[in-house]
């Protein structure tokens, strides 16, 4: 198990290296970048840029500095802020984004798996139809539609919850954003769980478990759940990506001071440094999340560990 984890870790290195190198060249090629006299940026920023990018040195040295900086966690200067560089801006936004993302992720898994299991065990009865409805709403309505509707209903008309902002950080500010983020994934996860559960319950080893008289609770919880979760875990990798992109919209609509909102503002203002830096950060994050997912998958399915 450990050796599998280690091997997977090693395999992420080439991926990251290629991605990072690609970003290096993108920055050099981009029109309006620091290497392009066309754009007029404030002098303080130009100074930061020049200092950071060592434009007078040969390309290979620039590249080495670039990689070295990345390894130290320095993502370069921002084009729109002279006081904070990219890494610092990300750090400021990180706790908010992390809280939002993690909560939504966990909520989606718990609700999705629970509803999916119920749908599988009580096929074509009430829980199954609830499932269908939840999937439909969550998957079809884009999050930028659900958000304003919920804001209108719960924030303005009923005034139960705040319409946006982080406020004092208390729970009520999180409720709407987390629901909007989690809903589409809860829907998809429950659909996957349902299908998978139905398939697993028809397997021969479940028949053996039943024949042993261990009872329905253990049969489902101990024998069926683990194998049934495999497709769900496979989905979690891409799900992390989608959650990330979802956070862009959710943070913008609800006015939450997370990385997503900084990113969007930077993109609209053509702040390449910030945009590129954030993309690199997100990429590294996603690669590691996928690594985690692979490890969890190997725990569920012992056959994978020897590959």
């Amino acid at each position: 198990m450990l050796s599998y984890a280690f091997r997977r870790l090693l395999s992420t290195i080439p991926v990251l290296w290629i991605a990072v190198t690609a970003c290096f060249f993108v920055l050099r090629l981009a029109p309006g970048g620091p290497f392009d006299g066309e754009r007029s940026l404030p002098p303080a920023i130009l100074q930061n840029l020049a200092a950071h990018y060592n434009l007078d040195k040969p390309l290979i040295q620039q590249y080495l500095f670039y990689v070295g900086d990345l390894l130290r966690g320095d993502l370069g200067p921002s084009f729109s802020s002279e006081d904070f560089n990219v890494a610092q801006q990300i750090m400021i936004g990180l706790p908010y984004t992390f809280t939002l993302g993690m909560t939504a992720f966990l909520l989606a898994i718990v609700v999705g798996v629970a509803v999916g299991c119920l749908g599988a065990l009580y096929q074509n009865k009430m829980p199954d139809y609830m499932l269908g409805a939840m999937i439909l709403v969550g998957v079809v309505f884009p999050n930028f539609l659900i958000a304003p509707i919920l804001q209108l209903v719960f924030g303005i008309q009923l005034a139960w919850l705040p319409v946006g902002g982080w406020g004092d950080g208390s729970l009520k500010f999180l409720v709407l954003p987390v629901i909007v983020m989690a809903l589409p994934h809860a829907g998809r996860i429950s659909r996957i769980t349902r299908g998978s559960m139905i398939e697993v319950m028809n397997q021969n080893f479940i028949r053996t478990a039943k024949a042993k008289g261990i009872g329905p609770r253990l049969t489902v919880m101990r024998h069926a759940l683990k194998p049934a979760m495999m497709p769900v875990v496979s989905y979690l990798g891409p799900a992390a990506s989608y959650l990330l992109t979802g956070s862009l919209v959710v943070e913008t609509i609800f006015g939450l001071p997370g990385i997503g909102r900084y990113f969007i503002n930077a993109a609209l203002n053509r702040d390449y440094g910030m945009v590129l830096g954030t993309v690199i950060f997100y990429m590294i994050l996603i690669v590691f999340l996928n690594l985690l997912v692979d490890i969890v998958y190997a725990w569920l399915d012992p056959k994978v560990r020897n590959r």
């Binding site: 397997q203 021969n204 053996t208 024949a211 008289g213 261990i214 253990l218 024998h223 194998p227």
Partner: protein, 335 residues
């Protein structure tokens, strides 16, 4: 050897039927079956695919598909298991009656260790602690002939061969010392060389533990080596029942005789293989008379009017046929 009547009755099937409801109509997989199994007895149930031999016992274990319905009674030590609620049935299956299935490659849970799959029954049915259960399970592994059991105890099923998996499945079934062991074609999916070993295992262990054995098979060779008594099934009914030697010497029902004749012999020419003509019965449209009549070489007018009942032809030997084959001694005396 004690005679059969001296041993206690363990399982009794009375007027037992199984019907499957399908969109195309009802399918009667088993019709009005009667069978008695005594403690420690070895009975072989013989039949082709579709004869209902597996469904009969899946039914008493409560493992039928959702559209299957049982009727009649299945008395295990006097208790009708068909009438038990699910929770009560769970106390019986895996404990007093156990089942071993055909395909060892899919019978075990691929994501749980062998140890977990073996000990859970002991913990649930007999209240063992985890430690005590492990000890007992390891001991059973030795008895079923797994080499180096301590190492294999913590492995996953896919790390073991088919033969070993089947041994583990057998170990699992016998751990709680059940009174009845049902084995559904346990050797069909295995190599010929392993088959003999597994059959010996069944032989030895059930004898040791005085467990009654119900061996479901389509292979008469398996029957010969293992059974005390044989019940032959066709289209959901028992058509002949006899002690094993008697069945081989004097097969009475034409179907049984055909099965005998169809056993290939090593010195036989390929062109001479005997087959049973006709097609397997359609369980949705069974004939009015004898189920075997469409394929029977001895069919006569009376056979298609009403179904034959089991008639006793000799001590403990009965057959459901209007024109059974005569016994060898009768042939000899008539010669």
């Amino acid at each position: 050897m004690t005679t059969n009547t001296e041993k206690e009755v363990l399982l009794q099937l009375k007027d037992y039927s199984i019907t499957f409801k399908t969109p195309e109509g009802d399918v009667k997989a088993v019709s009005n079956m009667n069978l008695t199994v005594r403690r420690g007895e070895r009975i072989a149930i013989v039949g082709e695919s579709g004869s209902g031999k597996s469904q009969t016992f899946l039914g008493i274990m409560g493992l039928l598909a959702k559209n299957g319905q049982t009727s009649g009674q299945a008395l295990l030590e006097g208790r009708d298991v068909l009438a038990l609620k699910p929770r009560e049935l769970d106390k019986v299956r895996g404990k007093d009656m156990a089942m071993v299935f055909q395909d060892p490659m899919t019978a075990l849970n691929p994501s749980l260790k062998i140890s977990r799959q073996l000990t859970e029954q002991l913990e649930i049915h007999r209240g063992f602690t985890a430690k005590a259960a492990s000890v007992e399970a390891l001991d059973m592994l030795k008895r079923v002939g797994i080499p180096d059991p301590e190492r294999r105890f913590n492995l996953y099923p896919h790390e073991l061969s088919g033969g070993m998996r089947q041994r583990i499945v057998i170990a699992m079934a016998l751990l709680t010392k059940p009174k009845l062991l049902i084995a559904d074609e346990p050797t069909t999916a295995l190599d010929v060389t392993i088959q003999a070993q597994i059959l010996d295992l069944f032989n030895d262990l059930t004898a040791e533990m005085n467990t009654a054995l119900l061996m479901i098979t389509h292979d008469l060779g398996v029957v010969a080596g293992l059974a005390d008594r044989v019940a032959v099934m066709y289209a959901g009914r028992i058509v002949e029942e006899a002690p094993v030697d008697e069945l081989f010497e004097n097969p009475a029902h034409p179907y049984t005789a055909a099965l005998h004749a169809a056993i290939p012999r090593p010195d036989q020419d390929v062109d001479d293989l005997v087959v049973i003509p006709g097609r397997p019965p359609n369980l949705q449209h069974l004939p009015k008379g004898c189920n075997f009549s469409p394929r029977c070489p001895k069919v006569q007018d009376g056979c298609i009017d009403r179904p034959p009942q089991l008639e006793t032809l000799a001590p403990q030997h009965c057959a459901a046929c209007f024109h059974p084959f005569p016994r060898r001694e009768e042939l000899l005396t008539h010669a």
